[in-house]
Amino acid sequence: MPKTVMEEATLPAISVNGANLHSEAFGPKDSTLIICIHGGPGGDYRYMLNCKTLATKGYRVVFYDQRGAGLSQRFPKIWYKSQGSDAINKIFYDELKGVIAHYRTTASQKVILLGQSWGAILATGYTGKYPTEINGLIVAEPGGLKWDDVVDYVAESRSFKLWSETLNDATYIDQFIAGKEDQHEILDYKASLMGATNEIVGDVGADLGNNAPSYVASRSGAVVLAASFELGQDTKPDFSAGINNFSTKTFFIYSSNNKAYPDSWATKISSVYPNKEIFKAQGVGHSGMIDQVNFWTTTMEPKIISYIQSL
């Protein structure tokens, strides 16, 4: 397994809210911040690196692996569970607040959140909590914002057929590899083996072109994923809380190839944003609007720049 920032000192890292996070930023330090927020929970920012090209357009583009995910520091499952009813706030919102504070050079520096999947859910929740501190919100396929919708989307996006190879690939491996609750390396490795393509959501694997780093080191955060779902079941969070107070236009993106995200679902999930622009990314899947370099270059980046300039 790739080493985290705790074992590999050469990795770019920041210390935020009691955790060492794998993080890096590109572009002029004082220009508008674009904070890229990855999916999961338990994913990493590698697949979002096409967004790095926004730095060449004059923006300060920030990437970070969330606590317990990617190449950031691991925490035991009990730590997440011990955060209680305010866990989402303490684990994810406070961390994002710390990341923004770390990279912000002046109080007047604008902040735009760009989240995909779980990252879009997190970005929405944070913006609802701090609506006056965010100057722009770009969300790409948040599965759901109210907990029941999150559960429905996860079930729909993984509705594998009983006899399918996909389902058995997910279950059969348990007799080969079994990790204990906090054996991060084993559990992360096992999760990484499952992180292949998903035909339901239309993901085909990231194509980063020249935006890819010189090494391939993507690591799943299995413990934070499991803990987050258990916390969600316990606390039933509503990530749309307060978003009605965010009057700035939200750029809402969904894809044509995600069978679990039809037009009706996009309409439902986007309904909570009071001011929005909706864009359907044609020919790509759940992550494709960001992780497919050709689509990013020809379609998505120009759209995002246009959105930011309209604010």
Binding site: N168, I177, E181
Partner: protein, 227 residues
């Protein structure tokens, strides 16, 4: 996003006998006969996925300690049937008998293969189990407890994995054990002249006694043919 799910194994074991019979996984110890030393069995169910299996066992009649030796082969469902499989070879012996109550033990060596977009795994492991049951000529029921250990595993990662997940991943044999699961459940069956219909259901628990496999249950419906 990743998945979380359930795991359920339905193991049905079947065997039969009538005067001499044993079953690979599920055996009616009350119905063993020296005239029927061969047992063919087929089963479908759930065991780390939807599975189907075939097996053969041969009876070695050692007075109070009848011993069945043999093996079975099973595959999970899917459009690539040959990429995943499990083969077991071993023995099952009756250890104690008290009236109609009997206790038996099973030990098997396992060879199994797994392949997906990321990796191909080849594992050698073991399976130990004990069964305490109440056996009559035409029916039986009991409880089973066992432990399935993945002892040594060979890892071969795909080019896709190296290009998308981790380019420095190591291929090769990995030891110590990479996995292990306890299982416990109920089994029972109905025996006719040459045929037994068996059913086995239970729960799986990982070796830390805390975590569960994705399918935390097993179940199997089986048919045994004695000859």
């Amino acid at each position: 996003m990743k998945t979380i799910a359930l795991k359920s194994i339905i193991i049905v074991a079947a065997f039969s006998f009538f005067q001499n019979k044993i079953n690979a996984q599920v055996i009616n110890w009350e119905n063993i006969s020296k005239q029927n030393k061969h047992l063919l069995h087929a089963n479908v169910g759930a065991e780390y996925g939807v599975t189907a299996g075939l097996g053969y066992h041969h009876l070695i009649p050692i007075k109070k300690f009848p011993l069945w030796i043999g093996g079975e082969f099973s595959v999970p469902a899917g459009n690539q049937l040959a990429d995943d499989y499990k083969a077991r070879l071993g023995a099952q012996i009756r250890i104690a008998i008290f009236s109609h109550f009997q206790f038996s033990a099973r030990i098997q060596g396992i060879a199994r293969r797994y392949q997906n977009q990321s990796v191909t795994l080849l594992n050698f492991g073991s399976d130990f189990a004990g069964t305490l049951g109440y056996y009559r000529k035409h029916w039986f029921g009991g409880i089973e407890v066992g432990f399935d250990k993945a002892i040594v595993t060979h890892f071969k990662h795909s080019d896709w994995y190296k290009e998308n997940i981790y380019d420095n991943v190591q291929d090769g044999w990995y030891e110590p054990a990479t996995g292990g699961n306890f299982y416990y459940g109920l089994q029972g069956g109905y025996s006719m002249k040459k045929i037994d219909i068996t059913l086995k259901v239970g729960k799986l628990l990982q070796q830390d006694f805390n975590s569960q496999p994705l399918l935390p249950f097993y179940g199997q419906l089986g048919v045994n043919f004695r000859f």
